[in-house]
Symmetry: C2
Subunit: 245 residues, 2 copies
């Protein structure tokens, strides 16, 4: 009596370098019936699809799901629901659907939202999420500098609203990542100064892309806000190599 | 006059699922002159090498670097230095060396330590670090539950010394990962209770491996400590899907 359902694969395709996709994501792209990507900004459109493209057979349709760039929560929810319905329709037609997302499928991703609505609206559909390399992992690797070691802590924050998301912790973590350090970068850098973290901070723009740029002194960003694809890595302690006592 | 040097590649091979390795790591393994892995525990030995094995040509030597499982800092430093020297020797012989590590190359990895000594002892060698999928990303994907979304915070902690690494923050982050939740899991669960996080917590043992186990009620771990490969994911708020107002 139950209709045979498809499978939704949520695929993180990594941060930009086309080789930083997993074998698993590449295999699934090769066998999917249809590939969806989020069209939130023109950049994210071309980047996620261009990373995935070599693994998608020529005849497989690649479709865009539109998500408005808005702070209006009702408009966002409408878009998530609408897009969840589009995917559910495909799944009810027994399709193997791949939804690709830049970076990791579960880290600040559009897929994460849509997934929650799909689980609510169609709790019985099969969903398989496949992790991807995040931009902050790529940034740390590109600097050859550990993100976190030993018994240290690592905190990941969104920089969209500035430094207050760090200030509320009072104590700084050992290692810190501010994603999306662009619009409110001045307040983020002020906040890093307040926590005495600014000397251990580095900013990376367009990590892994040809136009990548590393900013060693993040104070300079206060007067020239960088672009959307900028993150800041900060370390609380100086990264001195411990010596034998 | 300068001797042609090799290249050291630090490769994260992902959390266990052999398909969660990147195309980049697979390509480098295929072309390396020699592959090194850390032999800290018998498990990590077989797992990292077994993930990498399909990508290593039969004639490429696979060698182990021994790191003592000890809390004696001097012994650790001696091992890091000794192993850094072994790698530097290969690099001075112009070898392409791949050092593989489970998970991500820059997240709580042995490679991270050795890299720092190599940079100190031989600052001119070429090093390229390649990120890998972490266990906590794989755990979140396997649960189909976002790690972090919107303007939330995500904190990664080592559970080796119990809950104090969280207690010092006073305020809990929105999302939390306790890696290595085994020996001191009782104190970790107590700490999650103190922060009212325990109902939003899930433990995963052997994530992505055939013996994977999900523990929905982490309170049960207090009386039966799990194995080394256990992590706990916690969320501060209930993961209710927001509704249109």
């Amino acid at each position: 009596m139950t209709r045979k359902s498809g499978i939704l694969y949520g695929l993180g395709v990594g941060p930009g370098d086309p080789e930083l996709i997993t074998l698993k994501a590449a295999r699934i792209l090769n066998s999917a019936d249809v590939v969806y990507a989020a069209a939130s900004t023109k950049n994210s459109y071309s980047l996620a699809v261009s990373i995935a493209r070599p693994h998608i057979p020529d005849l497989t349709p690649v479709k865009m799901l539109h998500f408005p760039m808005t702070s209006d929560q009702n408009k966002k929810i409408s878009a998530w629901k609408k897009n969840a319905h589009i995917l559910i329709e495909e799944l009810e037609r027994s399709k193997i659907v791949a939804f690709i997302t830049l970076g990791d499928a579960m880290t600040y991703s559009t897929y994460g939202y849509v997934l929650q609505y799909i689980q609510e609206l169609a709790p019985n559909v099969s969903v398989i999420s496949v992790p991807g390399i995040t931009s902050y992992q790529a940034a740390s690797a590109c600097l050859n500098k550990p993100l976190v070691e030993s018994e240290e802590s690592l905190m990941i924050l969104s920089g969209v609203n500035g430094g207050d998301c760090l200030r509320k912790f009072a104590v700084a973590p050992d290692n810190l990542v501010f994603m999306k350090s662009y619009r409110n970068v001045k307040d983020i850098v002020n906040c890093l100064e307040e926590f005495d973290l600014v000397d251990g901070s580095v900013a990376i723009q367009n990590c892994g892309l040809p136009e990548q740029e590393i900013v060693e002194d993040v104070r300079g960003l206060k007067n020239s806000p960088p672009n959307y694809w900028t993150l800041i890595l900060a370390k609380r302690k100086k990264g001195d190599v411990p010596q034998e006592k």
